[in-house]
């Protein structure tokens, strides 16, 4: 960084301020990358979620849409089609979903690219209950999901789909799921990275093989476990 040339008067001793500041900031940034997430949780712990939410970074959803716009679906027009290798194909309305037993979860939403939002409240119907209602036929291996945006797709193995913390969510953050968060109904796959939680869920298809979804065809792992393990795992508590 610091050049050899004598840019100035040159009769005094020169201090390599440029190099020092450069290296200090570089070291600081490196420490921040390596320990930043621990620091963030420590700060959040110290400040509580209320004040912690006011930190100038972290703790916020970064919204993605692969089509460039958010589908607008009036709640009363919402339909969820359940089809494929099932005994009783059904089409569920929002009211149908709300009438089923509710599952409530409070979890950290973790994006594969690094950002996370702690203590997000979710409410919806366990995917396993919907599969049970439709009746999974022998030979079924996986479940594929479609979105109202007509672009995003996702998939889970049948075992993954039956985990108790995989839900079809209609409430998030203490309110109906908003349009930009994938409302009125979206998938929430708690043990996996955010991209698995498909927004604007339109269809559930029970199929005989795993069909990698949009993000997986674009390089993300098919099994997006947050804790890095590969196979199905025991659901975590809390």
């Amino acid at each position: 960084m610091a050049g050899e040339g004598d840019g100035g008067v040159g009769r005094e001793a020169r201090v390599p301020v440029g190099r020092r500041v450069f290296l200090s900031l570089g070291a600081l940034a490196t420490l921040g990358v390596v320990f930043g997430s621990r620091l963030q949780s420590a700060a959040r712990g110290a400040l509580g979620t209320g004040l912690g939410g006011l930190l100038p970074f972290g703790d916020r959803f970064r919204l993605y849409s692969i089509t460039g716009s958010y589908p607008a679906i009036p709640p009363e027009a919402y339909r969820l089609e359940v089809s494929g290798l099932v005994e009783r194909p059904v089409t569920l309305t929002l009211a149908d979903l709300e009438a089923m037993p509710a599952t409530r979860l409070v979890r950290t939403f973790q994006c594969v690219t690094g950002w996370s939002v702690p203590d997000v409240e979710w409410e919806g119907v366990a995917l396993s209950a919907i599969l049970e209602r439709a009746g999974v036929r022998p030979g079924a291996v996986a479940v594929s999901f479609d979105s109202y945006d007509r672009a995003d797709t996702e998939s889970l193995t049948l075992d993954q789909a039956r985990l108790p913390d995989v839900i079809v969510a209609y409430r998030m953050l203490g309110a109906p799921v908003t349009r930009e968060h994938g409302g009125p109904v979206r998938l929430y796959v708690a043990p996996m990275f955010g991209y698995k939680s498909l927004k604007w869920l339109s269809a559930i298809r029970v199929v005989d093989r795993v069909e990698p979804g949009f993000w997986e065809r674009n390089g993300y792992p098919v099994n997006g476990w947050v804790d890095g393990s590969i196979g199905p795992r025991a659901p975590a508590e809390g």
């Binding site: 960084m1 440029g18 900031l25 970074f57 930009e180």
Partner: protein, 230 residues
């Protein structure tokens, strides 16, 4: 090394430096403008196509070091390299001026210590933003905790450099001759003598050259030196 301009004027920034500065500035503006909807997604998400914004941000980010690197390394970069050395290596008096927040005597160089520090901070921040930005885009080799850390560092440095740029623009607007010199390249000799006396000496247009021994006006900035021609 600095060439004389028109009569009564000296060159402060040559064409290479001005092009590099404004290219860099344009990229920073594009990056800040595209960062807003990416960061404050819920405010802008409904209006803007995120993917397009993201791509513009990514490519502007990748292009960010280009004006600086090209202007420094090319055969056209003599003034860039000379000024980089000038900005990087400080005299004790300059350090003292900065640590005492301008309340010590200094015959200012071509750039005062505040300007030098600004340059260094922006340069270092570019490297940090580029490195963490690349980690966010090509994240797969890194553990999730590092991705989180990179997100935070990227956000924090982006906030800081935005504030720095706001301050930089405010000071430029408050000192129009300095601002104009980044457009036209030249400043008057009188300005050089008043604002950057040590540099004026170097160019041979200063007052402190030789026997008069005006080595130490109390401050470099508000020096009411008479503008006598040499």
């Amino acid at each position: 090394m600095a060439t004389r301009g028109r009569a009564g004027e000296v060159v402060r920034f040559d064409l290479t430096q001005r092009v590099a500065h404004w290219a860099n500035a344009a990229l920073f503006v594009a990056l800040i403008v595209t960062a807003l909807p990416l960061y404050f997604g819920s405010l802008f998400g409904l209006v803007l196509e995120r993917h397009v914004v993201e791509m513009v941000h990514l490519w502007c980010g990748l292009a960010l070091p280009v004006p600086l690197v090209v202007s420094l390394l090319g055969p056209w970069g003599a003034s860039m390299r000379a000024d980089l050395a000038r900005v990087s290596r400080w005299s004790r008096a300059e350090l003292e001026w900065l640590t005492r927040l301008g309340r010590s005597a200094l015959r200012a160089d071509k750039f005062n210590p505040g300007q030098k520090l600004n340059t260094i901070l922006v340069g270092a921040t570019i490297v940090v933003l580029l490195a963490t930005g690349a980690m966010l885009q090509w994240f797969s080799p890194f553990p999730v905790a590092w991705r989180t850390g990179a997100t935070d560092v990227h956000d924090l440095f982006a906030f800081a450099v935005t504030l720095l740029i706001v301050g930089h623009v405010a000071l430029a607007l408050a000192h129009p001759s300095a601002l104009v010199s980044m457009v036209r390249g030249r400043v008057s000799r009188a300005w050089a003598r008043r604002v950057a006396p040590a540099w004026a000496d170097e160019l041979g247009v200063g007052e402190g050259v030789g026997a008069t021994g005006r080595a130490d006006p109390t401050t470099g900035r508000a020096d009411p030196e008479p503008v006598a021609s040499t």
